[in-house]
Each structure stands twice: as C-alpha cells, then as structure tokens.
C-alpha cells in the first residue's frame, strides 16, 4: 500500500509538473500533426491508412524517449532526484513510476494521428485489440531506452543528443520507411535487434494487414525486450546512481 501511494504520487507529480505543461502538450499535438501533414503533402495519392503505422510509431518513440531522459536528467541536476533514491520504496517501484508518466504521454501522442486520420478515413477495419497493446509495448520499450539514456547523461542537452543518436537510426532500420528486406544484408540483423521493428510490424498488421511476422511472436519479443531493458536499467541505476 505504501509503495502504491508513492508510485501514484510520483506519477501524478510528473504528469502535472512536466507532461501537462503547455510546451509539452503542444509538442505532443503539433509533432504528430506535422508528420502526418508532411507525409500527406509528400505522397498526395497515398492512402492515409498506410501512413498511420509509421506515424503512430514515430509519435510514441519521439514522445517517450526524450521526455523521460530529459525529466530525469533535469531532476538529477537539481538534486531533487535524490529524494526518490532516498525514499523507502524499491528501485523498481521508483523506475516504474517515472516510466508510467512517459508511457501515458507516449500513448497520448500515438492517438493524435489516429484522431486526425479518423476525420478523413474509415477506421472500422483497424484491429484495435492488437493496436492498443502494441502502442503500449512500444511506449514501454521506448521509455526504457529513454531511461538508459538518462542513466548515461549528466546534462539535459546530453540527454537530448543521446536520444537523437538512438531514435533516427531506429526509424530507418525498423522497416517503417524502408522494408527490412530491402535493407543491405549487413543491416538486417541490426533491424531485428530493435524492439521498434516488432512494434511497427504489429501496427502494420493491425491497421493495413501487411505484417511480415507473426503477431504472437512480435508481442512475445516486445515483452522480452521490455523485461531485458528494465533489468539493464535497474542494474545501471543501482551501479551509477548509488555510487
């Protein structure tokens, strides 16, 4: 019960202090909208439905990775993060609470292009049962990557730089813009090491039915990625922040 009180209040504080601030709300809305419009202008004849998996994946990825890395680095530089490390709650509870805010923010970002698209196309064929858990798992893995960055960064600008170093190669290797089969042979194994590859594949299957892997396999691998990333983050926090 005590851990739950701490968890809930860390989540509430982060949402109120960081995610509900006007710059972040506007980022959460404008960024996915801009990407949607860019894609529509670039490929006028293209079906909006075909753009949706990429837009959702990008919105979640960009929303989550930088936010968690930046907020944690910001709290660490002001030393308020020490309060969380010194609180009588387990490191796992603290990490999950910090992640929860980012996951909520990532999911919110993901649905901006969906809502936008609903004005133009019929979304009744979308398999929501697959799409919703996929968005959730992409948000989790992306948040954990943001946390990995936060552990390594000392300053907010470092967190932002490291985030970009991760995100852009991922976008081009996960099969969103270029099918994995069209990538050079030496890059394909890298693609299959990225959680976003599997998230994108589920989204493609759920929205336009063009997945290349089994959804069950993708969900399983996303869960494995989430667990491994969580354990690495926990280990790194223990090693680097408790000196």
């Amino acid at each position: 019960m005590k851990s739950w009180i701490a968890f809930w209040n860390i989540l509430k504080k982060d949402i109120k202090n960081y995610y509900l601030k006007p710059p972040n709300i506007s980022w959460g809305i404008i960024f996915p909208l801009s990407w949607t419009l860019m894609q529509l202008i670039r490929s006028p004849g293209k079906n909006v439905l075909e753009l949706l998996p990429g837009l959702i994946a990008m919105s979640v990825l960009f929303g989550t990775t930088s936010m968690l890395a930046v907020t944690i680095t910001f709290e660490r530089s002001g030393r308020s993060f020490e309060r969380l490390l010194l609180a009588p709650i387990s490191l796992s509870t603290m990490v999950l609470a910090k992640m929860a805010g980012t996951i909520v923010f990532g999911i919110f970002n993901a649905f901006v292009p969906v809502i936008f698209a609903s004005f133009f196309i019929n979304l009744s064929a979308v398999k929501w049962g697959a799409l919703l858990p996929a968005v959730f798992l992409i948000a989790i893995t992306s948040s954990l990557m943001g946390l990995l960055i936060a552990v390594s960064a000392e300053q907010v600008f470092e967190a932002q730089t490291f985030s970009n170093f991760f995100r852009f190669p991922m976008l081009f290797l996960c099969g969103l813009f270029i099918p994995i089969s069209s990538l050079p042979a030496f890059l394909r194994p890298v693609s299959y090491c990225l959680p976003l590859t599997y998230g994108t594949d589920i989204l493609k299957g759920a929205i336009i039915g063009t997945n290349t892997l089994s959804p069950a396999l993708c969900f399983g691998l996303l869960l494995v990625f989430s667990t491994i990333l969580f354990l690495i983050c926990r280990y790194n926090i223990n090693r680097k922040w408790i000196l």
Binding site: W8, N9, N17, G78, S80, E82, R83, A87, P88
Partner: protein
C-alpha cells in the same frame, strides 16, 4: 543505546581514499556534530550512512538496522537534508511537503494536516501556496528541513543546514534543532561553523583527510589539548618592570603586558590567585578583574587537525557565495 554505529568505514574512489577506516557511535537523542573542511570526507560519510553511496569496507547500523543489507528499511526512519535545498521548483511549499510525505507512504488524510502543521511551525504558512522557486534561500532551507521531518524520522541528517542563509533563519534553524532533540530526535549535523557546533552539539567529531582525529563532548575536546593555564588581569596601572618582577616572584610563569592596565600570566601549573593578588597589593596595584583564558573549540580544532582557522573562514565564504 546507539542510534548510529559506524565501524571501520572506508570509501575509495579509484586510488583516492575519501573516508579512511573511521568508526563512531551516535547515541539516541543526541546532537552529534561532524566538523571538518571541504573534502575532509563529511558528505562521503553521510552518503554512505543514508544509503546513497556504497562503502568500500566497513559496517553501518542505524537503530540496529544494517544499512548495507536493509537500506530501504533504514531509510524509512531517516530524515535527510542535503547540503543543497533540493525540493521541486514547479511545486508550491504545501504540495512539496505532501509529495515528500507520499514518498514515505503517508495517506492523504494524514499528510495534508501534517504539511500544514509544519508550514506553521516553520513560519511558512503565508508562503505555502507560493511556488518553491519564488522562495528566498532561508525559506528554501526551512522548507527542505520541514520536508525531512514530514514522516517524523527517528534520526535527522543535516548537511550544512545554515550555510549561506540569513542570520534570522540560521538562528531559527538552530533553535529548531535543539527543540527536536528535546522531543527525542537524534541529530547528525555537519557544519563548517565551529561556534554553531559548540553551541548546540552534545558531542563532536573532527574529521580531516578522511580520518576522525577526535571525538567527544566540547569540554572533553578542550581538555584533550594540553594548554597550561593562563590568567588575564585588569588593573589600575601597570609599570614596565612589573612583568619581570612577577616572573621573578612566581617561578615558572610567563608574563606579557598587554596594555598599561592589563597583563597576562601563563604557567604550566595552576596559578593560585591569592598570592598573586597579595603581590599586586604589596606593589600598590589594584586588581579589578582576573579571568582564566581557555582555548576556544576553534583553537582545539586547529591544533588537532593542523588546519588553520583561516582555511575554514575561506571555505565559509566560498560556500556562502
């Protein structure tokens, strides 16, 4: 019964030894001062005790709980005030206190009245709804201490609580520390200010270069430095040859004339007052005052650590700026 027991504690960062095999106890309900210059190992020691840093070697027990093995259990009874006020800028005073209480699992119906009570206790009620970033340094310090008390800790760690804040807030914090002790809270205080430690601490440890050089009550520390005896006399008049006459009469004494009305007499042995007074009377000199001069705690610190008091003064200026 000890609230804190530190045994052979050591902390190394690469080849640098920040804390070198120190041991000490803090009794329940006492104010324990940890005095030393920057880089002496104070913060490294505190960080190991509170579980923010891992010892290279040694044991730490807080209220009988092994901090290395049961860190979170030990942290539940600690209140911690870091050397920097580190609350959340975006939140107001009241919300900051409520959030800190929630981290200790305190329910809303308990934490809100407690937060209000602490705001009142620290004279911050009017500022409770203002964002923390708008607080003055003194107010921030007080709110940070209030946040450390929100879960009624058994032991409070205060790292430089009065550094860089106004005189009134400093005085208030010192009074508050003494009140907390009266209520049974154990206090671990690190400070640069020797006079602050002397005024409020029950026992003090001097730390320099990662080692504890002395521990004891203020009188014990004073006594630990052999200083002989010195008496300052204020009289109606003093002639130039008086110093030689006194030294000749009282063998083993060393006399210095400070002004035309005062002289200082020092001796390894206790100085019996009556013969000295009789000597002055025979010379027709009236004695108005005789005061034994004792070394200050600062003198003791300088002698034991080899660190000049000017060095501490310099650090105070650096920390305050």
């Amino acid at each position: 019964m000890e609230m804190v027991r530190v045994t052979n504690l050591k902390k190394k960062y690469g080849n640098f030894t920040a804390v070198d095999d120190i041991s000490f106890d803090i009794k329940k309900g006492e104010i324990f001062g940890f005095l030393g210059p920057n880089g002496a190992g104070k913060t490294s020691t505190i960080n190991m005790i509170i579980g923010l840093s891992r010892p290279t070697a040694g044991d730490i027990a807080v209220n009988g709980i092994d901090v290395r093995k049961q860190t979170k259990k030990a942290q539940a009874i600690m209140g911690i005030v870091a050397d920097e006020s580190n609350l959340y800028n975006e939140m107001n005073g009241f919300d900051n206190l409520c959030f800190c209480a929630a981290l200790y699992g305190i329910r809303k119906e308990e934490r809100e009245p407690k937060a209000r009570q602490l705001l009142e206790q620290f004279r911050l009620t009017d500022a409770g709804n203002r964002p923390y970033k708008a607080y003055s340094k003194g107010m921030r310090r007080k709110l940070t201490i209030a946040a450390a008390l929100i879960h009624s800790p058994r032991i409070l760690f205060l790292d430089e609580p009065t550094t860089g804040i106004d005189v009134e807030s400093s005085r208030y914090i010192r009074d508050m520390i003494v009140d907390l002790k009266k209520q049974g809270t154990t206090i671990f205080l690190t400070t640069h200010y020797i006079e602050e430690a002397q005024r409020i601490c029950d026992r003090i440890a001097f730390i320099a270069n990662g080692r504890i050089v002395a521990t004891g009550t203020v009188p014990e520390l004073m006594e630990s430095v052999k200083h002989g005896h010195t008496i300052h006399f204020i009289t109606d008049e003093i002639t130039e040859c008086l110093a030689d006459e006194v030294q000749a009469h009282f063998r083993g004494s060393n006399v210095t004339i400070r002004s035309d009305r005062s002289l200082v007499m020092a001796s390894e042995q206790r100085i019996p007052l009556l013969p000295v007074m009789a000597f002055f009377r025979d010379k027709g000199i009236e004695v108005y005052e005789a005061e034994e001069l004792r070394p200050s705690l600062e003198d003791v610190f300088v002698k034991l650590t080899g660190i000049e008091s000017s060095m501490l003064g310099k650090e105070k200026a650096n920390t305050t700026s």
